[in-house]
Symmetry: C2
Subunit: 574 residues, 2 copies
């Protein structure tokens, strides 16, 4: 008959490596069948219950309590195992040999290893903020492995790092590779021309492994923590790391990856990257633009595609023409928006989807995102895409592919708006459509373009023509007539939309709100020959294995993790 | 001083071509500056107001009233123009010459042209349902151009067509090309090997134009109406058209396109297409899977990419291996689901996104769609992806990349669930990670696989290994050990997820709920030498131009469109 015993210990802090090793040691004891050694969080108690290891004693354990749960062959064996716990713990203490001098505080460690530019922090989340802020105050960059840190604390830490010209990777940053040295979890890859910035730990690892597998290699790979690209944090670390790699001579191509993020954050990053002068492959999970490229940003759907593309780009650097931004000197300062007047719904949708990668909000009567639904489709708002083939426009009148009257009226209306920079229209040829669209459209285009010019504005009119040479209207005849009227003509929707997207992106001013790391700042980031470790000793050992001079701080939480004592201490301080 | 005059006419139906021509004729009169001739819908009144053409007289016009709005140089010229309206209308009547015999009803037209297999209907939406149902009752296929038809009426019409083995394109179907004959709006393209099915009018046109531009051509292109792929309609027309093209010898590759649709509809279509035996390029706007292909479905992001891919496939038909569905004979009937136990969040997300293209609902503790959020992450539900590196799992314990205990417990738990067919785990190597994962994992894999086998179940265990040969754990050593334990090993996330996706798709039975058109049904659909047209005379003229024997029905709405009279007639009927 098997027997379950539990013991709950309160008020003491244990390193989680110690707990794992304790669990394994108990399991190795005679007569022990299963063991769980865990802090008493709800998730952990669930696990123990699922495994049939939880007794009544532990059901109300607190998150800061340690539960030792043992399933044994008999009550006696269970009791014996529990009695062995302290002995096992003391044996472990005495077997530690890796470091002669063990500073007990960060400041002592810094004094003993003054050249260290980095502090690796992996203490439990609730203690991590104080340690990180202390490291920044001491002028060190921070790799913050700890998770369970609040978003507000993350912002606090990152703003502090920005002020000091330092870099903070994390919180919840699992991995980084700088100058070939792995921080936290890190694969051993070849050194090479590709730099990585990842708001995702295993994303970074999958990327560098894939780059290595493709025969390429990594210059530096920065983790940022999974929340760096949440809109409140604003991508502080990502932008610092991107500008750092853009200025790094060993990096030819950069890959940026992230877990799913808000599209305004994605667009902000695309615009930020367009201020840098290096090709950047972007893989934001779940964000798949219809265009393959915007300026120096190249989009990839998957991690594997991203690494593949980066390698291809790095071996064809000379053939990559950096898109020159469309000149906008002809536009007046008031001109900022595009107005699209479609007769074809699908062409309107495809354009809307393409433009959504170039600009933050595109209003439409067919908006997919209800925040950008135009409630009064007769008046445009900022960037606007109107599908004039929608039912509301065709009640009791011909389809706009046959009858251009409504669109011509709207074209004039938009052309008179001082905020309009570009107007995009589609012209669909073929049987059933207007027998000669350019005969109506071309004079109007000339007219509104000159009218705008006489008022000091340059109006770009883009016409997307869908048709063939054998259509009754003849494609080339229509194109020729529209071009003569001053229109820019395209025959493919995504190309037309990209053309417009590049113009409106150029017309909207972009403010870089992150001071980039430069000169000596870069050098101090890439200096990794000596590093201070606070938290999991595991990571210290891994640094030693990699030939880094590492000092491990023998960190203990304030008041040995006793919550009540900590509260009293905090009150005494304030 | 310019002058605006308006006249409102009630109780008479006008063809919208007539109205457009009337507007143009009035504008050509001396002293007339601008004209709007429109039915009095709200949208149209807005347009007239924007153009400064609306007077108080018309502000309360009803949708079925005709507004004639004129801006003239003087009051007198305005009055003259209004007085000319009836004369212009009567002139138009007398100039019609295109057809000697004009049947006044559909049934008369059918008697005069019994071989016609198609009726083109473009009467106003509120009359369209009755005409369409009449055509179906007469055994004809229907091309329903009319919009402003309710969703319920669309379902009614399509269900009727299914029962009768006929095809209905539309409502709101702008275009189709069958055997080189364009219906509605249609471009003139080369005949060729690519068939098209489009729940989008200009989508279809852009596709066939692009195919033509690439030097290829079109076998048949079917429109379905933009709402055919709304979940309530269930893609009746799309599926009929797809199966028709799959059975058509002239069609080598099919392209299917649609405006944005619900993902469950997309998956249903992917599964439907996988019952056909021809390559199908799918472009659902805004639906961009991470995989490039599922079975015989090839995904394209844009219309242009879709046509490009179709042409490439059609010229390399021999080299396309149709994916053979994964054999599932070893699985027990209860086994249907995958359970993914990840240590890496990004790997979990990428897997989730890939699986979402193969299966309708994948539950997760990191679900992006809140409908599929697992509230109790300790119990899996149907297909489940668990990120065990989430904060909830790492409070007070080591990361699952270091400590496999939780995942091993969960692996056993999932393996004992009779519904589990596949378990996917990641193993991330490198510094900081578990020093030898396979030493813990491999024995567990052997163990749970044999346990399942002894209960008559086959358990597929897939392990995604992320690592390099130079990692401390050595990639090849880990892979070898996992393979020996019976695991299927992959090293790339999207490949691992696709592998799993194909298995679970094969394990979930798919019922085809649409009776496909076969044999004589196909012949009657592709027979387009004679066609009956009801509604816009424009389309009749276009058919004549294309050499089709077309009969135009001189259709008038019941009670000449007088709403009150129509109500009385309807009441007398019932």
């Amino acid at each position: 008959m098997t027997h379950i015993v539990n013991e709950v210990r309160s008020g003491t802090y244990y390193d989680s490596v110690v707990l794992m090793q304790l669990q394994k040691s108990i399991l190795a004891l005679k007569g022990v069948l299963d063991v769980g050694v865990m802090m008493g969080t709800e998730a952990n108690r669930d696990v123990l219950e699922q495994s049939g290891l939880l007794t009544e004693d532990s059901k109300y354990a607190a998150a800061e309590d340690l539960i030792i749960a043992i399933k044994a062959e008999s009550a006696e064996k269970g009791k014996d195992a529990l009695d062995s716990v302290d002995m096992i713990m003391s044996q472990r203490q005495s077997s530690q040999t890796s470091q002669d001098f063990r500073p007990r505080s960060l400041i002592t460690a810094v004094r003993s290893l003054p050249d260290a530019r980095w502090v690796l922090i992996s203490v439990p989340g609730r203690y991590a903020v104080d340690v990180a802020l202390e490291a920044l105050d001491l002028g060190k960059n921070v790799f913050l492995y700890s998770d369970n840190v609040s978003l507000d604390d993350e912002i606090l830490i990152k703003k502090s790092s920005l002020e000091k010209g330092l870099l903070v990777m994390g919180p919840d940053c699992g991995t980084a590779v700088i100058n070939g040295v792995g921080f936290g979890f890190a694969n051993v890859t070849k050194i090479g021309p590709v730099g990585v910035v990842a708001a995702s730990g295993t994303g970074l690892q999958a990327l560098i492994v894939s780059l290595d597998g493709l025969g390429s290699g990594v210059s530096h790979a920065f983790g940022t923590g999974g929340r760096d690209l949440k809109d409140k944090v604003g991508g502080i670390t990502s932008k610092q790391a991107l500008s750092l790699l853009a200025g790094d001579n060993d990096t030819q191509v950069i890959v940026l990856t992230s877990k799913p993020l808000a599209s305004e954050v994605a667009i902000d990053l695309i615009r930020f990257i367009n201020t840098l002068n290096k090709p950047v492959v972007v893989n934001f999970l779940g964000f798949v633009p219809l265009v393959t490229r915007i300026g120096n940003v190249f989009f990839a759907k998957t991690l594997h595609e991203a690494s593949d593309l980066a390698v291809k780009l790095s071996s064809n650097l000379d053939s990559i023409t950096m898109n020159t931004p469309v000149s906008n000197k002809e536009f007046a300062p008031s001109q900022r928006y595009v107005r699209c007047l479609f007769s074809g719904g699908t062409l309107a949708y495809e354009t809307l989807l393409v433009l959504n990668t170039f600009a933050e909000g595109v209003y439409s009567n067919i908006a997919i995102n209800s925040d950008y639904k135009l409630h009064d489709a007769s008046v445009s708002k900022e960037h606007t895409v109107i599908d004039m083939g929608e039912d509301e426009y065709t009640l009791g009148r011909l389809h706009p592919m046959m009858d251009y009257d409504l669109r011509l009226r709207r074209l004039r209306q938009e052309s008179e708006d001082e905020e309009t920079a570009v107007i995009l229209l589609d012209v669909v040829l073929g049987h059933g459509s207007h027998p000669n669209p350019s005969a109506e459209l071309a004079p109007m285009i000339s007219d509104v373009k000159s009218a705008a010019l006489s008022e000091g504005r340059y109006l770009e009119i883009v016409v997307l023509v869908i048709g063939t040479e054998n259509d009754p209207q003849e494609l080339s005849v229509q194109i020729e007539s529209l071009r003569r009227a001053g229109a820019h003509v395209e025959t493919c929707t995504d190309k037309a939309a990209s053309y417009v997207g590049n113009i409106i992106m150029g017309l909207s001013p972009y403010l870089i709100n992150i001071k980039s790391l430069e000169g000596s700042d870069i050098d101090q980031v890439t200096q990794v020959s000596s590093i201070i470790n606070v938290g999991l000793e595991y990571f210290h050992e891994s640094l030693i294995q990699q030939g880094v001079q590492s000092t491990h701080v023998d960190w203990q939480p304030p008041a040995q993790g006793n919550e009540k004592l900590m509260d009293i201490l905090a009150k005494m301080k304030s």
